[in-house]
């Protein structure tokens, strides 16, 4: 192992039940095949969590994995990927987060951490100096995800940037099915209730000391040069992410709201209901002028001006430090619930972050309740006396606090949009916006972007699997005809693998978008694998997709439910998709996609050929026991 580059080759296993901490060495052949992050995590999940183990079972695993670029000179290389069996779908989950933790994990000597078992009482995991310990966190119960950062750092004597903390809020403690993990002041690993899985293990937080182990890099000069070339590409205005260099995702609302891509009133309209003045309150210029800036909020090694730390100006957190939300938060807790004021939405997003709840899912939960309230399907009797009128700020605030604590109606809504709709009945199921496999959709109106509907409804990660628009341009592909079922299916199949590849490297997609040629060059420079190609990289990403899907199928996933809810797949009566609905042609979309992916149309299982092509023949006996 002395010649291993790009890795320490060491994985920490933390058994919370005993508690016991062991380290095992991973073979270079395994690292090359699965690389890191999402794909390495998927391999451990598949191997170690057998069918029959539920998300809340102590035998479930949480894998926090960096990758060969983590903690190197590559911009935004503090990213990690969390892989688990998630709470919302009770299926495979892959959710990444930026900040510092991924880099610090590597500086502590580990490429990944596997967490298993369940602590006797609320605890936190402290990783430092090549080992770990479990500490009592009972005094931290109920603390929000922002204040806990400094409290834990104070306890271990590592203030400020000397450590990275990721924690759950009260929603995770109460196992809200879409509770998330928050860290490094505002970053989130949010998908599929990773926070609830932490809660089920009595794990309030993980803190990783900065450490002094540097990652062995094969050719640092070449790695830095490739990273610089990638940054130059990111700044090219021909690509959408050039906007991120200056404003993160704040510029998106002003665009998407005008082209039917921002969800309004629970997908009841594709027309922007805001006045120009209201829309302007979500513009980066307005927000950065009105929200007092504390400092830039940068991730490990990154130069993008993605986010600021700010002073919150209203609500119960007024005067406290917070973070500029992303576009998705503004859509979920602003425009999506009829709150047409960016400053108010900023406050609400930060409150929800403190509770540790996924913005995306709670946005659809609240908009469903508001539409039902508007139509008289729910009354104040049902909502515990809360007037759930569109745009009622105090109602939104009261409701997300109830959800976090599972109080009253909050206990129903804590199960997620689809499950809550099932509870409310047929009319709720007709109007709720969800994917039938339980995956959480982003805060976009996908009726104008069918590729995203297909990706979400067939993803094995609990959320979207492909960053379709960005991947399309960098892979040199043309956008498919937007409402052509055949083209939609084949297009999504072509790009699968690109986004999971980035999530397998320990880097952020903003400074390192899905450009497989450049990513492969970086992997080469970091590891010395001089024959690592673009195609091998794409195959690594595809392995993540297949492992997650195979895991889900072994665990009872019913592929026959794959599809959008009636409202999610409905036909808009305005906007660019006016008159076009995906549901009437959904079977044709799936036909095309399954064929291109080489998945069995009846069962949804990847065929033996698909598994062999991806270099995963060992999965064939599990999925096709009668196959020779």
């Amino acid at each position: 192992m002395s010649s291993l580059f790009g890795y320490h080759g060491k994985i920490l296993r933390a058994d919370l039940s005993k508690p016991e901490f062991t380290i095992f060495r991973e073979e270079e052949s395994v690292l090359r095949k699965y690389v890191g992050g999402a794909t390495l995590g998927a391999k451990y999940l598949y191997d170690e969590v057998p069918p029959g183990v539920a998300w809340s079972d102590p035998a479930n695993r949480i894998i926090l994995a960096s990758g060969p670029l983590g903690g190197t000179s590559v911009m935004g290389s503090g990213t990690f990927c969390a892989v688990t069996k998630g709470a919302k779908t009770n299926g495979a989950t892959s959710t990444q987060s930026n900040g510092y933790l991924g880099a610090y994990m590597r500086f502590s000597g580990f490429d990944a951490v596997i967490i298993q078992g369940k602590a006797k009482h609320l605890s936190y995991l402290y990783i430092h100096d090549g080992t770990a310990e479990l500490r009592d966190a009972r005094h931290l119960a109920g603390k929000d995800t922002w204040e806990i950062d400094s409290l834990i750092k104070q306890e271990v004597g590592l203030p400020g940037p000397q450590a990275s903390v990721y924690s759950i809020g009260i929603a995770g403690e109460n196992m809200v099915k879409y509770a998330c993990l928050m860290g490094d002041h505002g970053h989130a690993a949010a998908a599929n209730g990773i926070g609830a899985v932490f809660g089920s293990k009595n794990l309030k937080a993980a803190i990783v000391a900065r450490g002094k182990n540097r990652v062995p890099v094969f050719d640092n000069e070449k790695l830095s040069a490739t990273s610089k070339a990638m940054y130059e590409m990111v700044q090219d205005p021909a690509y959408w992410w050039s906007q991120a260099d200056k404003y993160g995702t704040l510029w998106i609302m002003g665009r998407n709201a005008l082209i039917g891509r921002t969800p309004f009133k629970n997908y009841q309209t594709a027309d922007c209901p805001m006045t120009k003045e209201q829309l302007d309150t979500f513009s980066p210029q307005y927000l950065r002028e009105k929200l007092p800036m504390v400092s830039r909020h940068v991730c490990w090694g990154c130069r993008l001006h993605h986010l600021n730390l700010i002073k919150i100006t209203e609500g119960p957190l007024a005067g406290k430090e917070g973070e500029e939300p992303e576009y998705e938060g503004y859509a979920a807790l602003g425009t999506g619930v009829g709150i047409y004021d960016g400053i108010t939405a900023t406050a609400l997003c930060n409150e929800v972050d403190g509770l540790g709840i996924d913005h995306l899912e709670i946005g659809y939960v609240l908009s469903m309740v508001m539409e039902m309230y508007e139509k008289g399907l729910l009354t104040k009797k049902d909502t515990d006396g809360i007037d759930m009128t569109w745009g009622n700020v105090e109602a939104v605030r009261a409701m997300f606090n109830k959800i976090a604590r599972r109080e009253g109606i909050g206990n129903i809504l804590a199960e997620g949009t689809m499950e809550a709709a099932k509870h409310f009945g047929k009319k709720a199921l007709e109007l709720a916006v969800y994917s039938k496999n339980g995956n959480t959709l982003r805060q976009h109106d996908h009726r104008v972007a069918w590729t995203y509907i297909l990706d979400l409804c067939t993803s094995g990660t609990g959320q979207s699997e492909a960053n379709v628009a960005a991947v399309t341009s960098v892979l040199g592909l043309k956008d498919p005809s937007p409402f052509d079922p055949e083209q939609i299916g084949t297009h999504v199949a072509k790009i699968k693998g690109a986004s999971p590849l980035v999530d397998s490297l320990g880097v952020c997609r903003f400074p390192n978008p899905e450009v497989p040629e450049k990513l492969a060059e970086m992997v080469k420079a970091a590891t010395g694998w001089n024959d690592f190609t673009r195609d091998e990289g794409m195959k690594v990403g595809l392995r993540s997709v297949l492992l997650m899907r195979a895991f889900n199928i072994r665990h009872g996933y019913d592929a026959s439910v794959e599809g959008p809810s009636p409202r999610y797949g409905s036909t808009p009566d305005s906007g660019p998709a006016k008159g076009h609905g995906i549901i009437p042609v959904w079977d044709a979309v799936l036909d095309s996609y399954y064929k291109a992916m080489k998945w069995d149309r009846k069962t949804g299982k990847p065929t033996p050929e698909a598994l062999r092509d991806a270099g995963l023949p060992e999965l064939i006996p599990d999925l096709w026991p009668d196959s020779k």
């Binding site: 090219d236 205005p237 021909a238 665009r255 998407n256 982003r442 628009a469 305005s574 006016k578």
Partner: protein
């Protein structure tokens, strides 16, 4: 000068489903303002504030993307040039 302008598919609802138009003008600014006259709702999207081109819209003149530093509105055009309006969309 007659220039062919391509309008992104996402803005088609502002142009009655028209994605390519021939427009007269001698600069990019003139061309875009003339498009705005023909399709007023598209004009509002292109020029939301005091006649300034929206900061997040890019213009491609033939094969070259014009950045802010190029002062895109004052760029001269020639007969037969092609202009594409680039309207970045984010996330998904």
């Amino acid at each position: 000068m007659s220039v062919k302008v391509t309008i992104p598919i996402y803005l088609g609802h502002y142009t009655d489903g028209i994605f390519e138009v021939d427009v007269q003008g001698s600069t990019v600014g003139e061309i875009l303002h003339n498009i705005g006259k023909r399709f007023p709702r598209l004009g509002d999207v292109l020029f939301p504030h005091d006649g300034r081109l929206d900061e997040f819209i890019y213009i491609k003149l033939n094969e070259r993307v014009l950045t802010t530093a190029d002062n895109p509105l004052t760029s001269q055009v020639r007969d037969g040039d092609k202009i594409s309006i680039i309207f970045p969309i984010g996330g998904g």
